[in-house]
Structures are given as C-alpha cells and as structure tokens.
Symmetry: C2
Subunit: 233 residues, 2 copies
C-alpha cells in the first residue's frame, strides 16, 4: 500500500495535479477531475486530495466551488496581496521598500500606457482622475479612485504582470494611504496631489509618455516625502 515517502502525500498530489494541468494544456475555466476520482488514481485518501486542492486554490492556480468540480483559475493578485501584507506585518518588508518598487514599475507602466492605451482606456483614466478631484472632501472615496486610477493604468499597459503587481500592493497601500494623506495638511498640497493625477491622465490621453513619466515621478517624490513627514522611518 505505502510506497517510498518522497516528501508527503499532499506534496506529491499537488505535483500530480499541477502536472495534469500542464500536460493536458488545460486553460482557465477547464474542469479538473473530481476528488474521488483523483484519490483513486493517486492511491491516496480524499483527505489528501482535498488538502492538495486547498493549497492550489490558495495560490489561485485552481478555483473551488461547492458542488461543482474544481476549475483552472485565472491569475489573480489575491494570494500575492496577502503574502505582501504578511511580509509587512512581520517587519520583513517596510513601506519605503514597497514605494521604491511601485515607483519603479509605475514609471514603466505609465510609459506603456501612454503608448498603448485604447481610446476607451484613456477615457476611463481621465474619468477616474476627474472623480478623484470631485472626491477631495471624502478621503476614503478619494483613495478608492486613486487605487482604481493606478489599476487602470496598469491595465492599459497591456502587460498582465504589471496588473498583477499593482494589485498585489493594493492591499497594503489601502492600509497606509491615509497616513500619507494626513500629512498633506494644506489645501494646496492636496490639490497638487490630485492635479498631478489629472495632468497624468491628460498626458496618457495625449500619448505623451515623457510628460506622463515626469508626472508619475513627481507624484512619487511627493508621496515619499509625505510618508517621511508622517514619521515612517
């Protein structure tokens, strides 16, 4: 019954299921075998198959739903977001390090967005910047439009890896954004922050990557300064 213990039955099952997906070229939405069938094929109990499924679902490699069969999943930032948050909460990553990465990739994103955006995307980006301006009195709402703005830019870059990364930082950004906002006490500072976004949207709409990058850099310079003022070492 029991063969050589390579590592753990669950680990082996994860490998077998991954291989199954790869070898059959399964695409997102395609169905996987049922737990019962896999447990028979792999000669392990349903418990083991279930734990393997859970592991893959945690990484968003597959998707589970009650009653239905497991399916191959679309890439999604949920898992990475949790991992990043965990890193920050356990002092393995700090906010400045995240800002450095965001600055690096977002300057690239905005360049690509200015070059590749469709007209619909340009309109959406302009719209979101406009909504930011309209939400100056409601920080929580403003933050959501801000996040949506950067997500839309990533989308317009036409590179799903950038979307994935921006999404991954969204969770932790949501927890630190208010800190930066509070340190922009004057109306002028707040107007500037929002205006920078509006101008950036216009630069992207005008297909002017250089201008867009300049504004993105300005935005991050300003944000990092705000965080420092807030006492984040």
């Amino acid at each position: 019954m029991d063969q050589i213990h390579s590592a753990s039955l669950v680990g082996d099952a994860i490998g077998a299921i991954s291989r199954h997906i790869r070898e059959r070229y399964l695409m997102p939405g395609d169905k996987l075998p049922s737990e019962a069938l896999l447990s028979k094929e792999l000669n392990v109990s349903r418990t083991v198959v279930r734990e393997a499924f859970r592991s893959l679902a945690a990484m968003r490699i597959i998707e589970l739903a009650t009653g239905k069969r497991a399916t191959v999943a679309q890439i999604d930032h949920g898992a990475m977001s949790l991992m990043i948050e965990h890193g920050v909460h356990t002092d393995q990553i700090n906010i400045h390090q995240i800002y450095d990465v965001r600055r690096t990739i977002e300057t690239r994103i905005v360049t690509l967005a200015a070059i590749r955006r469709t007209d619909e995307e340009a309109a959406e980006i302009l719209h979101l910047a406009g909504q930011m301006k309209a939400s100056l009195g409601d920080p929580a709402q403003l933050m959501e439009y801000d996040l949506a703005f950067h997500t839309a830019l990533a989308q317009a870059s036409r590179n799903p890896v950038y979307s994935l990364l921006i999404g991954s930082f969204q969770g932790i950004t949501r927890q630190t954004w208010p800190m930066g906002w509070k340190t922009r006490p004057t109306q002028a500072a707040r107007d500037l922050m929002v205006q920078t976004h509006v101008d950036m949207a216009r630069a992207v709409a005008a297909s002017d990557p250089l201008k867009a990058v300049e504004l993105m850099s300005l935005h991050f310079d300003e944000s990092v300064r705000a965080l420092l003022t807030a006492g984040m070492s």
Copy 2:
C-alpha cells in the same frame, strides 16, 4: 452549533489564524496553536483547521512540519514562482511580458546595488560573473551562475521585495533560458553576453550606477533580440 454561514468555515478559519498572527505581532519562527486547540477555539473540526493551515502554508505565510507546531514563515518566492509559471503555461502571460518587467526592475536593482552593496556582496557578484565565464562550455552550469548573479544583485539592492520578485521569475526563466542561449550561435555572441555580466559586476564593485545600468540595459536588449530570433512571438 452552526452559526451564520459567512462564506465557508475554512475561509473563516484562515481569517482567524491570520488575525491571530497580526494581533499578537507574531514574528517569523513564532509558534501557532495546535490544530486541536484551534479547532476547539473556533468550534470547527480539525479537518477545517488543517485545510486552513494548508492554505496559509501554500502562500508561505506559515510553515508546517510533522510533529512540530506550525510556525510563522519568512517571505519566500516559492508560491509566487508557481503562480507565475501557471500564468505562463495557461497563456495568460507570455515571456516578453516577463522580460519587460524584469528589465524594468533589474535596471533599478543594479542601480541600488551599485550604491548599497557591501564589499562582501561586491566580491560575491564578481565571483559569480567569473564563474559564468569559466562555465562557457557548460550551458546548464552557466545558467545557474547567471541566475545566482541576478539574485545576488537583488540581494545587494537591500530591498527584499526585489529579491522576492527576482526569485519569482526564476522558475520560468529556468525553463526559457536555454532557448535564448541556443540563438547565440557564434562564440562572439556568447562571449559578449558573459562579458557584459563581468563588466556589470565591475561597475557595481566600482560603485558606478550609471555604467551598471547601461550594461544591464544592453544585456536585456540583447536577450530580447535573442528571444525574438528564437521565434517567440
């Protein structure tokens, strides 16, 4: 016994355990309660707690080991690496998109590395570049030194998020690297590729970020061209 079904018992348990880590400020290495205790506290079966543990372990938020209690884990690129590979295998991400991201972050990494590297790190980076040169006849070995070289640069950037990202791309790079190598058929092309790394290592050791960035850009220009030649659309 059964209260309102928020979503799923396992989902709730994952939340409860995450909260436990956060609220008690647990750090990597700290122990979590046993499965039996958690199942009693959360009023669920051990099955549910185990599946929650597996999910968190898949995201490398906690670490499991037989006999021992679960512990809080250090951030690690294993899970992200699998997610990226899954994205590529299911045609949701292509190699060029990954190269664009790598180029973007590695030019930043090499700048930071040139500024922040310790003398030990500089020596290690020079050593790895030297090993690449010595492995010109053994592609598999050369690839490993190449990967180690870029990992060492990320390390020297002193930003764990860059290390995490570089590590995440390593799995898929390992699967595509040989393709690029084969399209450098002449000895001159291969020498150039390795020499670029040696020069880059020297620039980092000399604390010359501008030169280092220039070489990194050159390297990626060349790599992307190689991939295109290999017929990667």
